[in-house]
Amino acid sequence: MNVSIGSASKTIQNRIVYDQELVVKLQRGDQWAFQLLVRRFRRRIFSIAYGITLDARESRDVMQDVFLQAYRRIGEFNGDSSLPTWLQRLTVNRCLNWKRRWTRRLKRGQVSLDRGSAAPRKTLDCDRPSSDNRLAKAQTCQQIDRALRKLPEPIRAVFVLKELERLSYEEIAQTIGIKVKTARSRLFQARKRLKATLLSPLKEN
């Protein structure tokens, strides 16, 4: 047990040293270091963005913007927070950017109007019901999306950091730049609204 804890802390320590080395190389303008950064964090950043935006194309754009912003602003990184925290912060800020939010809302409005005319829509695998299994999966996906869309985006961002990144209240507060109390309260709001959405059909039945 002690051995496994020791090796885990050693791994974390190695990762921190590795992150610091990566930052130094990036600040020197090393192209390979940038490629390494992208390769290492691309899936993680996409996942956070997808959790907040619930749109694959939008999340890809956010991911690219975050890396380009990181590349541009790596000189400003002073090590106050860890590299993953800094990238998480850039991602959340990018997703909650007011211009992007409005574009998303307008697009969503457009999509809901288009659905009436049966316009083709780009879908994920789980949105394509070709068998019973897929139909069930698609229903689950829709149910999740519907429940999450009911959450305002700043609240959704806190929920995403908690559930996907498994951050503590303090880490969430540090990442988003809010008080710990606010982070806790937003998470509480998220759960309350989700419970209301998820459990109400059950109660009706």
């Binding site: 996942s47 689950t140 999740i144 559930e163 109660k203």
Partner: protein
């Protein structure tokens, strides 16, 4: 008929329990409560199951992305950005010297012209 929830049930400690934010000491009363309160148990199970399905949903979405193509695109854009920055910084550096030099020349000319006009006798 929906289950009536006892008034003593408070969501906040339950949420903190689910988030793993409680000490071992504070966890026990919540565990006991969950054993005895079917409604709280139902809500806890629903939230845990939702979180699991949400993670699965995001994983599926990430699986359908061509990250290699994305990486290539980002690298190309970053290189372009770097080239633009290098060229624009060269221009801005040169402007940093050219503008004060022009201003100095202008001031010197202004003083020369004004002193010359002062020296010309008025009729």
């Amino acid at each position: 008929m929906p289950h009536a929830r006892p008034i003593c049930c408070d969501d906040r400690p339950l949420d903190r329990f689910l988030d793993g934010e409680l000490d071992a000491e504070d966890r026990h009363p919540i565990k006991d409560h969950l054993m005895n309160c079917p409604e709280c148990r139902r809500q806890a199970v629903a939230m845990l199951s939702f979180a699991k399905r949400f993670r699965e949903r995001v994983r599926q979405a990430a699986d359908s992305v061509d990250f290699v193509a994305c990486e290539k695109e980002v690298l190309i854009k970053a290189l372009r950005q770097r080239r633009f920055r290098t060229s624009s910084s060269a221009v801005s550096t040169s402007l940093k010297y050219v503008i004060p030099a022009l201003l100095t020349v202008g001031l010197v000319l202004f003083f020369i012209i004004s002193s010359c006009s002062w020296m010309v006798p008025t009729i």
